[in-house]
Amino acid sequence: VSDRDELQNELESLRARLTEAEETLRAIHEGEVDALVVRGPDGSRIYTLKGADEPYRVLVERMQEGAVTLSDDGLVLYGNRGFAEMIGMPLEQLIGAPFARCIVEREQAALATAVRAARSGSVRREFTLRRADGAPFPALLALGPLPADGGEAVVSVVVTDLTEQKRTEGVVAAERFLRSILDQAAEPIVVCDTAGNITHASRAALALGAGDVIGRPFTEAVLLEVPDGSDPRRRGRRVLASRLAHALRGKGVSGVECCWTGPQGELRHYLLSAAPLHDRWDAVVGCIVMLTEISDRKRAEERQKVLLAELSHRVKNTLATVRSIATQTSRNAPSLDAFAPMFNGRLGALAVAHGLLTQTGWGDVELGELIGRILAPYEDGGGGRIEIGGPPARLPARQVVPMTLMLHELATNAAKYGALSTATGRLAVAWTVGVTGLARNVSLLWRESGGPRVRPPDRKGFGTALIERSMAYELDGEARFDYRPEGLCCELIFPLSLPGESLLQEAEASAEQLRSDLESRTAL
């Protein structure tokens, strides 16, 4: 019985194992399994059946990183879509090609070293990859050994594109760079975003701003005025806003004149320039506004305006003098032939006066120098014919032209008819300055001798008339003629106007004003 029971049990067990084996075969046959386990000399191995690795494949295909496997000699055995996109080349062309083709030349040796090292352990290193179009980009490569059948070494590579990360680093570096430029800039420089709000400002710009300027609209934070218009400040803001808008539309603006008034009322002039800021896709991301201070230039311009007005005034005066000389000369010249030398001589005297005035910057002219210049052409070379002497006397600018013209008349007269018309004639010009209080009076004596005998003229000549009139109306003085037989003697007496005369007049005027003010107040 026991043998029979034993046999029965064994049969049961075999039947169960048979059922199990049949079940397994059925499941495999009907496609209910994903993998088979096969025992080999190195232990068991799992063979994945078709479709079972799909999720991994999808995972690898969908990940943004590039995934590559490399053969022993560095050929791409497998590459995912991410890698193909990164390199910009279809997978069909990548697989089977050397991986080194995707690395810039100078790093290929380093890649070979990394691939060798990756057979026995993982390696992480940054490389510069190269797209199919030649554009390089930074990437992190994580290389490691991959178990493979047949014992041949396969290296897996996970490629992470670092372009974005590097760009972020670049942005941070650029920001730091910009900051240092703005900190160093002497001129006010402001960076605005697309809404016209200030994002960055140089120290000089911060100093112009009313309070905290960062984050505020430029036109409100920095109160600049554009000259002219009914309400300059309001108008200024509108003009600036439209200029900024112009720059934000991608067009540059330059040379807008504006001014800024400080808390102490100090006025500064600036030239405003604005240029759009582009990102690397050429989109406008803001604008940069630069202010160049032109206050000095403005002041120079104003000084120039004053000088021009002054010059124009002098030219007008000179032309009036020339016209008057021309009229007088033509009235007194006996003929056209006689007119030319007379007129030229007088213009020459006028030129001498202008020359002296230009030398002193239209200031005072030393009387002795003026006389010397006028008489220089009449000196006969040996000297001693003309004697000039007197104390220093500075002739104010407005007296220079009439005095020159008078001396010229006296000299030409002497050369034509008087002492300077003969070799033996002599001329002495001497003056004294008498001081009475603030007033100083010049007495100048023109004495000819040794020339032809002199007798009083029948009628008053042009020269005499000019001298008398000039003395009376322009120098506020007097001319006396004495026709002595041995030579003409002419005395010119006139006051030197004081250098501070105009100041004195001003002081007197304001004193007068003050007095009348006081009077009107006490009357009230």
Binding site: S13, E23, T24, E32, D34, A35, V37, S44, I46, P55
Partner: protein
């Protein structure tokens, strides 16, 4: 059934990662255990990709495989366990009507 007593059924389900069949097997086994074993079981799910050495130890031929270690006799069931009757029969639970 004393709560402190060790579970009657000790089951091991061997799967291959997150494939559809493996997921289905996990769901089916979990459901069957809850329905028919009333909490009196210990189920462990093992990914043979992660622990290939276990596959050898358990003498597996394929995955997914459900192994009933206790009560004896040891039974192995291969497939995604979607045929519940067959699974119950394999676990010697066929006598209990579902």
């Amino acid at each position: 059934m004393a709560p402190a007593a060790p579970p009657t059924y000790v089951l091991r389900l061997y799967i291959t990662g997150t494939t559809a069949r493996s997921m289905r097997a996990v769901e089916n086994v979990k459901w069957l255990c809850e329905e028919h074993l009333a909490g009196d079981y210990d189920l462990e799910v093992v990914d043979v990709y992660q622990q290939p050495e276990v596959a050898a130890r358990e003498q597996l031929f394929a995955a997914p495989t459900l192994v009933k270690k206790l009560p004896l006799p040891l039974r192995r069931l291969v497939g995604d366990m979607s045929n519940h009757e067959r699974v119950l029969a394999g676990l010697d639970l066929a006598a209990t009507p579902a």
